[in-house]
């Protein structure tokens, strides 16, 4: 589709879903993930100029799709709307695209200003006040996400902890990749699956890098594509893995302590956090990131792309952290 045709269709979609005249300004393609394209633009709606983003699903054929939870952009939008209703600072969705829009699968949301780059959030002086409140905010936001009524988001895949571990084993087997330390970590996870789990909506990728942060703290939670129904402690563990600390020393995103996170979550949710249970998910989070490194590295090799290929060489980082965690050196 030509740029002119694309803008014509986008304007028609704006008029249909949000309002006219729908004149578009400053259209920019932002760096997107592998599975989607993100665009930023401003649009005249009524007498206002709205700052907007659009996310479109990219068509990738992934032989591993469906093994672990993953949702397309339209369902991400539906989930973000449900999250907004329980007070989660998710992107405010203005339109979910329809086939008649001829733009593909996607949604349009209000654009939110702020910083997403991990190293800046963790190190810049400017975010020092934000870092003071973010641990508490993370606990509160996760508690709210876990309050979303699962029946409102029936499109989410459900995996309990054992099923989630088994799904990741299948990914490793698909590649025929054999690394004794990874085998050890998977076996450990199989043997240490938490016996008691609640069953809630889980964000699946809640971490620094997927949060829009302002000077005052967290403004918005992004990247809902790995959402699922599962053990809510998964989100608390994932937030603590070292890769997402971006060089910061503290466990929670480089800025907070686990204890403070657990306390904030308990206050906001009314559910006690058993530290060993959260630690299981932190340990298994490291295993998941190791497997992601494998997966991204293999994709990079296929594409002949250096940045993604090099991620394959990061697989030992989370496995090293995994051993520190299970041996109490974490």
């Amino acid at each position: 589709m030509s740029d002119g045709e694309f803008i014509k269709r986008l304007r028609a979609a704006l008029v249909r879903h949000i309002g006219g005249p729908g004149t578009i300004h400053n259209l920019q393609r932002l760096t997107g993930g592998a599975n989607r394209t993100t665009m930023s633009f401003d649009a005249d709606i009524g007498h206002e100029r709205l700052e907007l983003v659009m996310q479109l699903s990219a068509h990738v054929s992934d032989p591993l799709s469906g093994i672990t939870p993953e949702i397309g952009t339209a369902n991400q939008a539906r989930l973000m709307m449900a999250a907004q209703r329980v007070g989660v600072p998710a992107p405010k969705v203005l339109a979910i695209l329809e086939p008649s829009d001829q733009l593909g699968e996607g949604y349009i949301a209000l654009r939110i200003a702020g910083e997403t780059l991990g190293p800046r959030i963790v190190r810049d002086d400017r975010f020092a006040p934000a870092r003071k409140v973010m641990t508490r905010q993370c606990g509160q936001i996760l508690a709210a996400i876990h309050r979303i009524e699962p029946t409102e988001v029936p499109f989410l895949m459900e995996q309990n902890a054992a099923e989630h571990v088994a799904a990741h084993r299948r990914i490793v087997d698909y590649y025929g990749f054999r690394l004794p330390a990874l085998e050890f970590a998977l076996r450990w996870a199989e043997l240490n699956v938490p016996s008691k789990q609640r069953r809630t909506v889980v964000h699946g990728d809640f971490r620094v890098g997927n949060l829009i942060v302002g000077d005052e703290g967290i403004r918005c939670v992004l990247d809902w594509e790995l959402a699922q129904i599962g053990d809510p402690m998964q989100d608390l563990g994932w937030l603590c893995i070292r890769t997402w600390r971006f060089g910061g020393a503290a466990a929670v995103g480089g800025f907070g302590s686990r204890e403070a996170l657990y306390a904030a979550y308990e206050d906001a949710s009314g559910h006690a956090v058993e530290p060993g249970h959260a630690r299981f998910w932190e340990a298994f989070g490291n295993v998941k990131w190791a497997i992601d490194c494998l997966r991204l590295g293999m994709r990079g090799v296929q594409e002949g792309q250096i940045e993604r290929s090099a991620i394959g060489r990061r697989i030992e980082e989370p496995l090293w952290d995994f051993f520190n965690l299970i041996e109490g050196r974490g």
Binding site: P180, W188, R313, R314, E316, E317, D321, R329, G330
Partner: protein
């Protein structure tokens, strides 16, 4: 063995013709150019990709320097632990199978020390900084 053969053998081992400069020197020079001369002139996407490329060249250099000795050590540890000989690949596959099927206890101290050493070796090539700061 005839005495006259000795210098020949020695010459094969010590004076075998090799290209100059060696791989380490070339990679160091390439990384230095990219990092110190090219990168300051770049921004955004290309600056980032160049940073990644410098990292990759450094990985290749460290692998060239370290991997042969690491593999010999790894093979020795595997032979000791599994109590028989084999190729590195075959012994690693066997260890994976033992772990996966529960035939080796996860609390086995020799196993844990071996896996940690193998990870430390790989990190010494792929990202030496990672093991410097202990995980908190």
């Amino acid at each position: 063995m005839h005495l006259r053969n000795i210098p020949l053998i020695l010459s094969c081992e010590t004076f075998m013709p090799t290209s100059i400069p060696d791989v380490t020197t070339l990679l160091t020079a390439a990384a230095k150019y990219l990092e110190q001369e090219l990168m300051p002139t770049l921004s955004g996407y290309h600056r980032f990709q160049t940073r990644v490329t410098v990292n990759v060249l450094n990985i290749i250099r460290r692998e060239t320097e370290l991997r042969v000795a690491q593999e010999a050590d790894e093979l020795n540890r595997l032979r000791r632990m599994l109590k028989h000989d084999g190729t590195l690949e075959a012994l690693n596959d066997e260890l994976c199978e033992l772990i996966r099927t529960g035939q080796i206890d996860l609390d086995n101290a020799e196993l844990r020390a071996h896996l940690r050493q193998s990870l430390a070796d790989a990190l010494a090539i792929n990202n030496p900084k990672w093991t410097l700061v202990e995980n908190r």
